[in-house]
Homo-oligomer: 354 residues x 2
């Protein structure tokens, strides 16, 4: 197996950082669009284990990445809890029902992953068989706060004011919903690990909507609960988008890796990660995905500068957020290639980095 | 006049911080909704100088704030440049045409504020007459990057990927559009000052979408150009929402005050502001607006903690973003009242702050 990712996650000295891209499966690749056109909607695709497996594997050859990530969606967990959703083309997720009261909450149920999320676990098993050890497979789930946002508001929001309102107005109800999401997500991640994923990532996409105080007091205990025991099984990444104002608090969590968005200062984050209370953390990130709109020379220079700043060791090269749908596949390849060709600044001729 | 705001802006020792709330005019007040219902849409209201003046003045008595802010919208400037917009209820702004090419840009024209934005300046003149010196009037405009986002994309966006794409793909076109916006905004702000506003605020609502590098290299020079000479006339506030990762760069700008969002660490920002290159900056902010959903006791305690952390002097008490529409007016009053009753922590009995 190409075990560069796993070696980097163990903190071993590596020849270069491993590389993958958030949202590498789906969106940008023509071969993905072909599958999608055959199957129907995004949700039809992720509920079809064979085809989900197929698009999960595409980026390995198409981009040359060092890991595959399961093609799925964070909203499968609310649905498994009893709150169905639709993905409306060019609009986003829509939940016909939402959680606003204790009786809404009481209608949710505990998740049995092999019953309620069997289609995902089947996809994992197919992927692992077809991967045949080429690269590791990353499993994932949405973090409690991010799923809470969708379950309360029912659709995307700029500031998640309704969800934040519930935190203040209904602390007990909020906490109960967060606990229910945490329990469901925990069993889901353990089931993914049972099925064979090599590492897992938790996406807290809307972490940035909360003040540090609110996140630390109300969300972090659930994160701690969710992560407890997980890292004994596989490496765990926490990616809290927009949450660099509490990165130091996230660094106290029992996780292997902190994901960085493109707003986070790299040298500051490295210093923080090296001095994390439970020992050094790996960092994953964080090229501004909009850099991939630039020409390949710029992509290369910016990627090399990123690694200069993050360092080679305990680094997983990635973007600071998912690939945008209109980024040309060639530009994704230029990013991956630039990581593979990385040479430390001291050994680099200045003319090659411009 | 209640000149507390102006004294605080001059860095004088004050008895307590002055207080106002972003979006205090409009949205939450029943008396605003009554005017709005009579006039029609939001845009009809802001284009009606008499009624815009009326809703600008309402918060002075309704909330007891120390300043009025002009009731208007940042998108009046693109429209004055030749790019009209609609405000669609519960959906947001929509521009029928956008700027994607040089020929699109060439269709824009220079702004003569007394011709193209006369309705705003008329509102300013009416407000100042009716204010009769009670409190200062704050003028405002959108910052170049934020207006660029709307003019390129034509509507709101989660990540402004199209606008950021243009920065990378069309650097010369982007720069020309930013320069045109800057010129229009500069003449607009000077016209507001000519009409009598006592201070101005620049809203960079989408600053957070950019990496520090991109903001510093591509946007900051236009901010510098825009602000040049403004501060000689009135105090100037720069509020870059989500931009705390380049607050140190904003502190180099010729402005009086830095606005803080609720994600920004207060003690860190105070230290940065005190050591700004051109001399100490005033700080404005930054209570999480969602705190105003809590009970008045919590609002009071959180407001006092905010002032403890920001300090009394060179501080303007405000929220970290605009009031949300569903925040009860009583809770806005509780915030304003808490600022007025502020007592330093050392002089406070612990029982009153809980």
């Amino acid at each position: 197996m190409n075990d560069l990712m796993l070696r980097a996650l163990r903190g071993e000295v590596v020849e270069r950082p491993p590389v993958w891209m958030m949202r590498q499966a789906g969106r940008t690749l023509p071969e993905y669009r072909a599958v999608r056109a055959e199957v129907g909607g995004f949700k039809d695709l992720l509920m079809n284990p064979d085809r989900a497996a197929e698009v999960t594997l595409q980026p390995i050859d198409a981009y040359g990445v060092d890991a595959a990530i399961l093609f799925s969606d964070i909203l499968v967990v609310p649905e498994a809890m009893g709150l169905p959703y639709n993905l409306v083309e060019k609009v986003g997720p829509r939940f016909p029902e939402t959680i606003r009261s204790r009786s809404d909450l009481d209608r949710l149920h505990a998740v049995d992953p092999e019953r309620d999320l069997k289609y995902v676990l089947d996809a994992v098993r197919i992927i692992l068989r077809e991967l045949d050890g080429r690269v590791p497979l990353i499993g994932f789930a949405g973090a409690p706060w991010t799923l809470f946002c969708y379950m309360v508001e029912g659709k995307g929001s700029k500031d998640w004011a309704l969800a934040r309102r519930m935190l203040w107005e209904e602390p007990a109800l909020s906490d109960a919903l967060l606990a229910a999401i945490t329990a469901a997500t925990k069993s889901y991640l353990h089931a993914q690990i049972d099925a064979g994923v090599h590492l897992v990532q938790l996406f807290d996409s809307w972490a940035g909507s909360l003040s540090r105080d609110l996140y630390v007091q109300r969300i972090l205990p659930h994160m701690q609960d969710l992560l407890e025991g997980l890292q004994d099984r596989v490496p765990v990444t926490v990616f809290a988008k927009g949450g660099s104002h509490f990165l130091g608090d996230l660094a106290t969590l029992p996780c292997t890796t902190l994901g960085l968005d493109w707003q986070t200062d790299r040298r500051w984050a490295r210093d923080l990660a090296n001095n994390a209370p439970g020992g050094p953390k790996v960092l994953q990130g964080n090229l501004d995905p909009s850099v991939l709109y630039a020409n390949p020379g710029t992509i290369r220079a910016e990627t090399h500068r990123m690694i200069d700043e993050l360092g080679i060791h305990r680094t997983i090269a990635n973007l600071g957020h998912g690939l945008y749908p209109d980024i040309p596949a060639d530009h994704g390849r230029a990013f991956v290639q630039a990581v593979k060709e990385y040479v430390p600044a001291t050994e680099r001729e200045t003319t090659t980095s411009a």
